[in-house]
């Protein structure tokens, strides 16, 4: 077993009735990484987390967790994981402290100070005697994070952990996760709808759509893909593209709808591109230099892959 990989799935599939929630997914999470799992609602993120946590069972395929691949070993190995999946569950009439104490005893974690320390870590010291049902959404989310951290896990599985948090809370949790990763080398698998937030912390990404893993990449590789480009809007994009190739020897471009052309790569003389459109009588409608954000890359990826997945007329 490769000790540098904390989780690896092999053709992992989960089908509910007629719906394929996860479709032959192969994910690899390196040890010590912060793996951002990205996808729309219904992409399969929570399904993957539930499979990892043992809440549900795969239809086919398998995975290794912390180096072991047998379901019989997972029971013991899951003790080395901490997770928040969907809304964290606690007993409504017990206080934050009592709830955590319940789980501390359950997990056989020694030291009654553990609960106090965990609450302090997530900023809930002052609310320790508040009943769970009286807590705000943000406080409940923090308590869920405290629960995930209580056993000093090796792998943290966090499904939308910043839901319900205010901006200050988001920054606090982000800094906490980074600290845990850097100082305690905890591997973190995190999903979030807020791509900009993931960009701050993730070292690796997995992009899911309709149950399929579209892409798996490192943060560095993603930065290279999200390169800056020239956006040129003309009257006839195809005519402009032909001129790009013949006059400027540029082949690194993409034609988009509405006669928009994106030009990538190293651009030494920007003005030559605008002059090309004007001099050819193509009609330059707009011209701008842009930085591609993760969001744009993600949307483009999702759109193009989903279009590829739609069967065309005449396809068998």
């Amino acid at each position: 077993m490769n000790q540098s990989i904390i989780f690896q799935s092999n053709q992992l599939t989960k089908i509910y009735g007629n719906t394929t929630a996860l479709d032959h997914v192969n994910i690899t999470i390196p040890k010590g990484s912060i793996y951002g799992l990205v996808g729309n609602n219904g992409a399969g993120k929570t399904t993957l987390f539930k499979l990892l946590a043992g809440h549900i069972f795969p239809t086919s395929g398998n995975f290794t967790l912390l180096g072991a691949g047998n379901e019989s070993n997972f029971t013991a190995l899951r003790k080395r994981c901490g997770c928040i999946i969907e809304k964290p569950g606690f007993f409504p009439n017990m206080t934050a402290k009592q709830n955590l104490e319940y789980y501390r005893i359950q997990r056989g974690i020694p030291g009654k100070d553990t609960v106090t320390n965990c609450l302090k870590l997530v900023g809930l010291s002052e609310a320790s005697n508040k009943r769970f049902k009286a807590m705000s959404l943000g406080m409940k989310q923090r308590l869920g994070l405290a629960l995930a951290l209580i056993g000093e896990p090796e792998l943290l599985i966090l499904d939308e952990p910043i839901n319900g948090l205010d901006p200050v809370g988001i920054i606090e949790i982000r800094n906490l996760l980074l600290k845990l990763n850097h100082e305690k080398h905890i591997t973190i698998l995190i999903s979030s709808h807020i791509l900009a937030e993931l960009e701050h912390i993730a070292t690796h990404y997995g992009i899911l759509s309709q149950g399929k893993l579209l892409e798996e990449t490192t943060a560095e590789q993603l930065r290279e893909k999200c390169q800056s480009y020239l956006e040129v809007k003309v009257m006839d994009a195809h005519k402009y593209a032909a001129l790009l190739e013949s006059r400027l020897h540029c082949t690194n471009y993409k034609i988009l709808p509405d006669n928009i052309v994106h030009i990538y790569g190293e651009i030494k003389d920007i003005s030559s591109y605008s002059h090309l459109a004007v001099k050819s009588g193509n009609g330059l409608l707009s011209f701008a230099q842009k930085e591609a954000a993760f969001e744009s890359y993600y949307m483009e990826l999702i759109t193009s892959k989903n279009q590829a997945m739609i069967p065309k007329k005449g396809d068998v």
Binding site: A53, G54, A76, L77, R78, C81, G89, P92, G108
Partner: protein
């Protein structure tokens, strides 16, 4: 599993449900004897203010204790599926089998504790307030309790099984009523005509807890557990019921998606 048991003990004793249940049932038991005593104090020749009458009210209605067992089980188990607290335990690596067995053990502990306290209040208040004639009332009540304990255990196990299969307290309650009460009602009627159903009915826990007849010759109640064979039958019926529900519960819950 020991840690899970300890955590459940912590939860149960830090929640109000068990205390409220014991308090309310004890109050009811005490009130019953107090009312008999009050009636006796204000009426001449009131014949029912005796422990014989008081205790026989319970030992002829042991199925009420069966219902109370199911009620207490629903309080102890808590709707963990709805609260999503069960998922935390599973995610931590506690197996479904361990969860099932632990829940059952804790619930049985709570049930035994409640039974002891409530019955002590009932018996104690009876001896304090009522006429303690030289009858076998206490012995009958204790015999009834011993005979029905396996049925109570089976009733508790049945509820837990139905809860873990259905995933909801409400469904478990209806399923429990259907299985534990509804089926014996059907078998007892069919048993009037068909011997097989009469035999089957005699092994169902609800029928066991509600089985007694009145002997006109001796003017006394005759319970199923009055004889050694009958007592053995009661113990065995409860034991078999427990085993059946335990096996079904564990096997079904092991495969349940949360």
């Amino acid at each position: 599993m020991l840690n899970y048991l300890k955590s459940e003990l912590y939860r149960v004793f830090h929640s109000s449900g068990l205390y409220l249940f014991i308090g309310i049932c004890s109050l009811f038991a005490l009130s019953f004897n107090c009312i008999l005593w009050a009636f006796d104090s204000t009426t001449t020749n009131f014949p029912w203010a005796t422990i014989k009458y008081s205790f026989s009210t319970l030992d002829t209605n042991m199925y009420v204790v069966l219902f109370l067992t199911a009620t207490l089980t629903s309080i102890i188990v808590v709707d963990e599926f709805k609260l999503r607290t069960l998922t935390n335990s599973v995610a931590f690596g506690i197996s479904r089998t361990q969860i099932y067995i632990s829940k059952l053990l804790i619930t049985l502990l709570a049930c035994f504790l409640s039974l002891f306290i409530i019955e002590s209040v009932f018996i104690g208040s009876g001896y304090l307030l009522l006429d303690t004639d030289n009858s076998h009332a206490l012995r009958n009540l204790l015999n009834a309790t011993v005979a029905c304990i396996p049925s109570f255990i089976a009733g508790c196990t049945a509820f837990i099984t139905m809860y873990f299969i259905s995933g909801s307290i409400a469904s478990a309650i209806w399923n429990w009523i259907g299985f534990i009460v509804g089926i014996p009602m059907i078998t007892s009627v069919l048993g009037l005509k068909f011997q097989f159903f009469e035999w089957l009915d005699s092994w169902l826990i609800f029928s066991v807890t509600a089985s007694y007849t009145f002997d006109e010759q001796s003017s006394s109640l005759v319970y199923l557990w009055s004889s050694k064979e009958g007592m053995l039958h009661c113990l065995l019926a409860g034991f078999l019921g427990t085993i059946v529900f335990l096996i079904v519960g564990i096997l079904k819950f092991r495969k349940k998606a949360l």
